[in-house]
Symmetry: C2
Subunit: 351 residues, 2 copies
DNA sequence: AATTAGCACTCAATGACAGAGAGTGCTAAC
DNA sequence: GTTAGCACTCTCTGTCATTGAGTGCTAATT
């Protein structure tokens, strides 16, 4: 952990200056550049001395002898925790965001897709938005439909307007009567329960109540389990992949390709999105703080969204360690508020 | 159009040699390189003369004075029409393809997704697979379910195991009785029809038969139309975008970014995939044959898949004009046969 | 008449080299 | 404690000569 008092005010100002400048121009920043800003009324030589200290403490490094300094991962870490300024978004970006999200969207997934798009658009980085992992979704309806003699359709509706279906083949003789009875029992037993409450026990209960062959029961249960699995599965929306190529640090084709392939793998992305803050704070993984060595020069900012602490999904932005952390935070923050508001609209009359 | 007899055998052999070599090594190929192969028993000087002719006819060009030659778009066009050899796939690739597609997949969309993945994997280019545009899907079932007092769920099942749903909000008082009646009428009137047969006329007919308020009818019809719209919509699967970065012609970051963004836009891709051959031939759009100027250095190979000429979707591969046309064709060909076989399995007992 | 050896020529790519420029660390003076 | 001054370091840029692959043309050969 960074020891906060290690740096006095002057060192902080200088470090902030270096990080701000490097984020902006992607060039090592030298002592004269900082001195010219006259924010400290110091000459370049003094700043040089301070920079030597900062380097010794590990906050900045030199790409080579007698070049300017660039922030280290530790430097960025200190920056996001103590130095970074959050400005409000410029007016034109706010307008853009509202244009993208204010139109009435009925389906939750379409809304989340739009959020992902607008985030990558506004930030200029790669966005990842993870739909809520819905273990606590409340079942609102279960319906069995015979598509034809040997196929059965099961539809499960949970709150939030999410509908999942599954078709199963079978060889049993399922009459309309049986179906009607199954429908009644299943609805009575399952509606109002959350999907993670549906376990073997409940299923056995149901099996006892309906007087149909075990064969038929198995078919139906298999289908319902398929639906629940789909409801619990995580949807991932990634946009702005091409933005990765904008940053000079990835001008090496091999590296760029490696990154694009990395971001294509859901198995890689999902663990990255495990934000441990259940409140609304932001979590930063900077460069080597990521476990994957392939991500040593990447940072990811994550935070959660959702109404009233329920139904939490995750929003993330991935970019080079030299990321405009402040700008990204304010953009996500603004967009998240809008998203939450829209989510409430969609979910309000659900129980 | 290319006049086939413009080129004698010797010129053809030389052109083929140039294209093959250039595809392989991405380097302009000179007369000595071809002479060394001793396929014609000619010296480099003779070949030089022939190459000068080929250049004058527009089949090859020189990147600069006194460099080797590279094929022009016209050269590639002649190549794919007359010179290209189709080898069968190496054994290990065949194994890989079977591993990807032979496992039992129930859902048509999952199957198509797998096809897209394996094509980009095997070819090393970017794959695009377009799901069938289903105007002729036969409705197998329509089901209305009251989710709660003010929301109605409509589920439409068509053949091929495709299920689409839509939830509509309403303020009408829809009782179970009304719902039951609606369910019966809708099923009777719509099952067995294709989705493009569902027009205003049929809907009006139905409206007359059920004796429920116009308000309720409108709600239901709106929902059903929503489902049909979803059924008719085209799904697009794109994979191997990162493969674009492998080719030296796109080592310029700006260009690479431009391409990635281009391929992200469905509005761009869908028109490209309009293959006019309803049989199983391949269609090539080479470089400047594409309408978009941004695609002047890209080629796209498309062909159709589907069982018995019905339910046609499109498979495409996008890469630089310097694409391994022969290899791609044989890969698509093989994969398509497997796909068709699987599709028949999924669709066989549908009517 | 077709082919080819030979030759002069062109141009990209490579590497060596010098000079400019941005930056540093250190020392001595303020 | 701050800074002016200076020697030094290292990248970057441009120049220049060299190399090498390839060409087109001409004259000789088959």
């Amino acid at each position: 952990m960074v020891w906060d008092n290690e740096l006095n005010d002057r060192k902080r100002t200088i470090l902030k200056s270096i990080v701000d400048d490097y984020i902006k121009y992607a060039q090592p920043v030298g002592s004269r550049t900082i001195a010219r800003k006259r924010m400290l009324g110091l000459g370049s030589a003094t700043i040089r001395n301070e920079m030597a200290d900062l380097e010794e403490l590990g906050y900045i490094t030199q790409p080579y002898t007698s070049a300017g300094r660039i922030p280290s991962d530790k430097g960025y870490r200190f920056y996001v925790e103590h130095l970074m300024q959050i400005h409000s978004l410029p007016h034109n970006e706010i307008v853009k965001i509202h244009q993208a999200l204010d139109e009435h969207i009925e389906e939750i997934n379409q809304l989340i897709k739009n959020v992902s798009l607008i985030i990558s658009d506004i930030t200029g980085y790669t966005s990842v938005v993870m739909s809520p992992q819905i273990e606590s979704a409340v079942i609102k309806s279960v319906r069995l439909v015979a598509v034809d003699e040997n196929r059965l359709l099961v539809v499960v509706v949970v709150n939030g307007g999410i509908v999942k279906d599954k078709i199963v083949r079978h060889r049993a003789n399922i009459t309309e009567d049986i179906l009607e009875k199954l429908n009644q029992v299943f609805n009575k037993e399952m509606v109002g329960k959350t999907v993670d409450q549906i376990d073997r026990q409940i299923i056995l209960n149901i099996q006892n109540k309906v007087k149909v062959s075990k064969e038929v029961c198995d078919i139906v249960i298999k289908a319902i389990e398929g639906c629940i699995e789909k409801i619990e599965s995580i949807d991932l929306y990634i946009d702005g992949l091409a933005n990765m190529l904008n940053h000079p640090e990835f001008s090496d084709m091999l590296r760029a390709r490696e990154i694009l392939e990395l971001l294509n793998e859901e198995d890689v992305i999902i663990p990255l999105m495990k934000n441990t803050n259940k409140d609304r704070r932001f979590e930063f993984k900077i460069g080597s703080e990521n476990e994957l060595t392939e991500m040593k020069d990447l940072s990811i900012i994550t935070t959660v969204y959702g109404s009233d602490g329920k139904r939490l999904g995750t929003i993330g932005v991935i970019g080079p360690t030299r990321m405009a952390y402040g700008r990204v935070v304010s953009a996500i923050n603004y967009i998240r508020e809008l998203l939450n508001r829209e989510l409430i609209k969609i979910l309000d009359d659900d129980t």
